[in-house]
Amino acid sequence: MGGGSAASLPPGVNAAVPMQDIMPPVKPKKGVIGFLRRNPTIAIGGFLVLLMVCIAIFAPFLFTKDPTALAPALRTREPSARFWFGSDMLGRDIYSRVLYGARVSLTVGFAVAICASAIGLFIGLVSGFIRVADSIIMRIMDGMMSIPSILLAIALMALTRGSVGNVVLAITVAEIPRVSRLVRGVVLSLREQPYVDAAVASGTRTPMIIIRHILPNTLAPLTVQATYICASAMITEAILSFIGAGTPPIIPSWGNIMAEGRALWQVKPYIVFFPAIFLSITVLAVNLLGDGLRDALDPRMAKRL
């Protein structure tokens, strides 16, 4: 190191012996590749979610048959060239049913995530800004949160006719309290912030404060929460269908396919196996995406959970 060898130094000047590094150098990773490499969960989760969305959209073109076509002569066939994933008790092609089933799961997952976030955001904002409403709303939310969400959805489904819309509604109701609490928490903590205080003091109107200060800060945690809600909604949908309280049996959802395979699972495990794999992978993908988003959006929160 230094400016030159010892010989070239002026007389009387002693150079320190340079220290060697004791560990190999660090190469910082930058750019899109670096981002994906530092957040592998976003890359993997995002890819798998995209894949499932493509499968759902393009199901008719992926060598499928009519998922509801009955073939009583070809019941419970093992997986083969004709029935890639086998056939069920009514001779329907499980491969086609599983691919079309992606539509139901993803629809329910995304719809619940969007509805619950939107309604929860609204309730949370009202609760965070209107003191009078707050205690009443939060009492109700506490009460709702005390009912285990699957039971709440079951109770709601027992009172309505099975349809995809009603399933979405039932699961959404069960998820709203959590979102409201989250948003309310953010609002209350932001209201303590000096710059929000300043905005209030300088006469900024509440809608402006919400748009300028509250919403931008709510977006990150809400997105992460919505991802987790999407994942848990897909599981809840499958559970509801599996126990006969979900989508009507005629619709090929993953829960329904498994419910139909239930009686035969000891002898024909593949009927349960294929939808189970698809469901698990999809939920896993969404959860990975959620974890990755949380780590990337909120480094402080990343350490928790």
Binding site: I243, P269, A276, L279
Partner: protein, 313 residues
């Protein structure tokens, strides 16, 4: 302290009242005519009217609610539409398997998950940590019935180590009872283990950064003493809080697990009630589970002071 306990117990009353009001009101806020839905598609108008009357839907809302709450306080949860038995009797007959399943799962999950989370936090960034985190994500992602089927397929059908299905009452011996519960408990516990392991790891990571952990290390304590005495005791409050909140997962999962493993508990009762559209039974079970959930979390709240001397009431 005593005053706090009283206040805290009293505070759960409004929560329970709202749970009751909510469960009761579902009948009224559900879209469509619940009487017609419950009666089913083949029902005659007479059937629908009969069900409407038995659910009390023909009477004014508040009158009906008052009578219903009064009944509940006396332990009367109504009468099943299908069996005509009191719901409370039906629940009493089915409670043992569910209670057994949940207790075994709770013990199993806590004793697996907490050490897992502790070790993951201690070895943060290593393959052990990654494995625990991967397991946690999987636990959240694979639905309980899928875990149940996979476990039953291998451990019961292929390797014949444990019974496939069913339940043996505790009265017939500890081992036969436990044997039947191991697979369901693992299946039901997978999400719960994932949840507890994750919060344990996260809390421990935070605690391990604290100055008093450095002090403990400077004293010459070994890793075990640091992790399980100095750190874990400090991490206890968030962990037991999540253990309490997570009981909701156990309750929801029990319904499904009992179906997979043919355990004749409250979950089966619920599923059968759904298929028969036996709403009073569903209402009773939901109410019972919710109250249990509220009370367990109350107990946990009150137990905080055992773990943290700084918490004083």
């Amino acid at each position: 302290m005593f005053a706090y306990v009283v206040r805290r117990v009293l505070a759960t009353i409004p929560v329970m009242a709202i749970v009751a009001l909510f469960v009761f009101s579902l009948l009224y806020i559900a879209p469509g005519d619940p009487a017609a839905v419950i009666a089913g598609d083949q029902a005659t108008p007479d059937d629908v009217e009969r069900i409407r009357a038995s659910l009390g839907l023909d009477r004014p809302y508040l009158v009906r609610f008052g009578a219903w709450v009064w009944d509940i306080m006396r332990g009367d949860l109504g009468v099943s539409i299908f069996t005509n038995l009191p719901v409370s009797t039906m629940i009493r007959q089915r409670i043992e398997p569910t209670l057994s399943l949940m207790v075994v799962t709770l013990i199993l999950a806590v004793s697996i998950a907490v050490p897992m989370g502790v070790v993951a936090a201690w070895r943060q960034g290593t393959w052990i940590d990654r494995a625990v985190m991967a397991f946690a994500v999987l636990g959240f992602s694979v639905p309980v019935f899928v875990v149940g089927y996979v476990l039953a397929y291998f451990f019961a059908l292929e390797w014949d180590l444990l019974p496939v299905q069913g339940y043996t009452p505790f009265a017939r011996g500890f081992w036969p009872w436990l044997e039947n519960l191991i697979l369901p408990a693992i299946a039901l516990g997978s999400v719960y283990i994932a949840l507890i392991a994750r919060i344990t790891r996260a809390t421990m990571l935070e605690v391990l950064q604290q100055d008093y952990i450095r002090t403990a290390r400077a004293k010459g304590l070994n890793q075990g003493g640091i992790l399980f005495l100095h750190a874990l005791k400090n991490a206890a409050v968030p962990i037991i809080t999540v253990i309490g909140i997570g009981i909701a997962l156990l309750i929801g999962g029990a319904v499904v697990t009992e179906s997979v493993f043919a355990i004749p508990g409250l979950g089966r009762l619920t599923v059968d009630a759904i298929l028969r559209r036996d709403y009073p039974v569903i209402q009773g079970v939901v109410l019972l589970f919710s109250f249990v959930y509220v009370l367990v979390n109350l107990a946990i709240d009150l137990a905080y002071t055992l773990f943290d001397p700084r918490i004083r009431y």
